[in-house]
């Protein structure tokens, strides 16, 4: 009997390898050794600007993780950004409205915001009524948000997470009230909508780099660099795979395919 589940051998060793590379880079960062810089991400640079603009206009900031549940990695990318957004809002004394479609995500967001206000020295400014669970239904959530946009007119709309068909409805509604919009998702079907309707769009992996980018923490930056190294490895594998597939037409005889599916 084999140790691994069929087709999972490469998956397991990939996890081990990326874990080792990340660990090495974290150790290097902790030892104060040089870590390559990551490129500028306009959407993340604009976070502070958008909150500053909302403060000047005396209007709130709205942030949502979309429809992703607690187990979606995109939701964790939102968690990593939310603390920073909440701390900036506390610092500038700007109202933050945070809406949710998932009650588990809602509980986590409530805790993140409360703690961020506390860390910013403004626990009094935290308003539990501004962290809202709206509806578990996709379009119930959307219509509640459209109503909120029309009534409270946030000056900044930050949407980072997993979105479905409601992405364009929300982004267009945000554009119509003149909000500066920063959106980010890994959903390739919704990305074009965000690009068309928002001021800044974080494309795919960029949402995961947020915490490292914002904090400039070398340990976190190390993990992003590790990810980039693996991206190069994956693209090299694609090139090698393309060459082998063109030489050996029969997939059963293709060594790369058999190794990956092992």
């Amino acid at each position: 009997m084999t140790i691994w589940t069929k087709g999972m051998v490469v998956d397991f060793w990939f996890i081990v390898a990326i874990g080792i590379v990340t660990y090495v880079l974290i150790t290097r960062a902790r030892a104060g050794m040089k870590i390559p810089e990551i490129r500028k991400i306009a959407g993340l640079e604009a976070l502070e600007e958008s909150i500053g603009r909302a403060t000047e206009m005396g209007r709130p900031v709205h942030a949502t993780p979309g429809l992703g549940g607690i187990s979606a990695p995109e939701t964790f990318a939102f968690f990593n950004t939310l603390g920073y957004i909440a701390q900036l809002c506390a610092k500038y004394d700007c109202r933050l409205i945070q809406t949710n479609r998932n009650y588990l995500v809602h509980s986590v967001n409530e805790e993140i915001i409360k703690q961020a206000y506390l860390e910013a020295g403004r626990p009094d400014a935290y308003n539990p009524d501004d962290v809202r669970y709206l509806s578990g239904f996709q379009f119930g959530y959307t219509s509640a948000l459209l109503g909120m946009f029309a009534r409270e007119k946030p000056a900044a709309n930050i949407m980072i997470g997993y979105f479905y068909a409601e992405s364009l409805i929300l982004a267009e509604a945000g554009a119509q009230i003149g909000a500066i919009q920063i959106a980010g998702t890994t959903s390739t079907a919704q990305l074009p909508f965000f690009v068309a309707a928002c001021d800044y769009t974080l494309i795919g992996e960029e949402i995961y780099a947020a915490s490292a980018y914002i904090s400039k923490n070398p340990v976190l930056l190390g993990t992003v660099v590790g990810e980039d190294w693996f991206k190069i490895l994956v693209f090299l594998t694609i090139i090698v795979g393309t060459v082998i597939t063109n030489v050996i037409a029969d997939p059963k005889k293709n060594p790369l395919t058999s190794w990956i599916l092992k």
Binding site: T5, I26, P73, L168, S215
Partner: protein
């Protein structure tokens, strides 16, 4: 302990999932199925948190007589009234199903239909020719739209083939590049959480503290 215990639970859960997915014995013991059941049970408990939050906010609206408080009242009646109906009749109850199909499904479809109008305004914004990229977007979108609609084929038989080529090659290549990056990004994020470097989900700013 407030941070350490959840972190320990996160790490153990992560290792449990890897074991359940990648190892034959994990598959034999159906660990992932068990995990899914636990998640369903914990979600059912957490549903109450959402309902309590909604109730608290809207009760406050009614108490303070905020503008539009009547809608808050309506929401509370719908939320708890429908819950009560479900408890009395069960989820297969005739009235319970009727309310769902006659109201909720219709309202859902209405909001979804707004998308058609928003696509038009977003397309106008995206297709304004300002840069070389916007021009490329306009030309390729026009070819794909004509290739997908019967009128395109009536104008020129080559449109469907061109549209298919754009969708199959440049579009798929770009989408896959985004997806590969996203998968790696999500994997590294998970690793950061498992190693306890990223702790934002435990409250506060986590790794992203302000400079």
């Amino acid at each position: 302990m407030r941070k350490e215990l959840p972190l320990l639970v996160t790490i153990l859960t992560g290792l449990f999932v890897i074991f359940g997915h990648d190892f034959a014995i994990g598959e034999k013991w159906q660990l992932i199925n068990a995990m899914d059941k636990w998640q369903t049970i914990s979600q059912a408990f957490a549903l109450l948190i959402g309902a309590v939050n909604l109730t608290r906010i809207h009760v406050n609206h009614i108490r303070r007589r905020k503008a539009g408080y009547i809608f808050s009242l309506l929401l509370l009646v719908a939320l708890w009234g429908y819950t009560a109906l479900g408890v009395v009749e069960g989820y297969k109850g005739q009235n319970f199903r009727w309310l769902y199909n006659a109201l909720l499904v219709q309202l859902d479809s209405t909001i979804f239909s707004l998308l058609a109008f928003y696509i038009a305004t977003a397309a106008y914004r995206a297709f304004r020719i300002r840069t070389v990229e916007a021009t490329l977007l306009l030309v390729s979108a026009a070819i794909v739209m004509l290739g997908r609609a019967p009128i395109g084929e009536a104008i020129w038989k080559g449109f469907p083939d061109w549209a298919n080529w754009i969708m199959r090659f440049p579009n798929t290549a770009a989408m896959r590049a985004v997806l590969i990056g996203a998968y790696l990004g999500s994997f590294v994020t998970v690793l950061r959480i498992l190693l306890g470097i990223e702790r934002a989900h435990l409250g506060g700013v986590g790794g992203a503290g302000m400079k």
